[in-house]
Amino acid sequence: MDYEQVLPYIPNLRRYARALVGDRDSADDLVQDTLERAVRKFHLWRPGDLRAWLFSIMHNVFVNQLKARRISPTEEVDENLAAPGNPVSSTDLRDIERALAKLPAEQREVLLLVGLEEMSYEQVSRALGVPMGTVMSRVSRARDKLRRHLDGEPERANLKVVQ
């Protein structure tokens, strides 16, 4: 395995990281840590889906970063801060950023891998090391929240999904 094989994926890793953490410098920190770790672990890579492998490394680095900041990846943002009484009149690109930032990290990850990276549920399941059912329910919750935010509906924080 050669470092050059990773190069074509750097722009995708950067796009994903930017959407995941928001600001450019933190996003590139995440990419850099991911690449360094990938290089250290090259010998563990077996020919296969290199992209999924890189994204799984990025996921691990990201989770470690969250832990270091003592933020649980499942921690919910205080929904009351979402200013529910202030409907969004027209959807612009800032709104999608704001809406994303309000998702719990684990929902943001799956949504971006599916919506932006266009991975299948199965690929996401492998990249994140979580069961496919979990991926599907996270995507569905993320989409629901995103939709409500973009449509300017108030959050229903206590809504339970019965499966």
Partner: protein, 213 residues
Amino acid sequence: MTTDREQDRLLHERFDPVLLEPVPARLHLQRPAWIGYARAAAVLAAGVAIGLALPRPWPGTPEAPLAAAGAQALPARAARAHLVYAMEVRHPVEVDAAQQEHLVAWLSKRLGTKLKVPVLAEEGFELLGGRLLPGPDGPVAQFMYQEAAGRRLTLYVSAKSKDEGQTAFRYAQEGAVSVFYWIDGNWGYALSGEIDRPALSRISTSVYRQLNP
């Protein structure tokens, strides 16, 4: 109501521009310390004999596929074509960049595929033009670029031969010529230049991205 499809469209609209941003230097091969470490680690992990880890420009890089494929291999052909034409003062190209539209249409027709010519202005290289060359599996296109300092790069586009599989980026050194090459679908691409490897690697990434938007 915002549909899933609209959500995805918004995500792409907002974040796809990141794909086209120049990759910052700190994410490139310009950090010899960790790359050196990583390559050393890779060599050790691969269990390569100590003798092979003796100082070479890039220890640990697998160059065996090239040697195995021989003189007809893509990087060898690309490097030879580079050497022959990049040194030409008066006739480096058959059709110059002033007639770019004609050049691309002509070479596309001869190769039987819609060719795209990457723009390398951000890397400091301008298109000089291109030419048609013979290859083992039909016509080959060569595009030539030149930097203000006079250094030249060539992009060699050739039909994939039967015994070549798909490859991601690979690097080969043919004498003084460095070559990055990859095979994508039915086509092989090779970027050659007498340029150091990190710089060529960076430019190759740009070429690759432009050909695979």
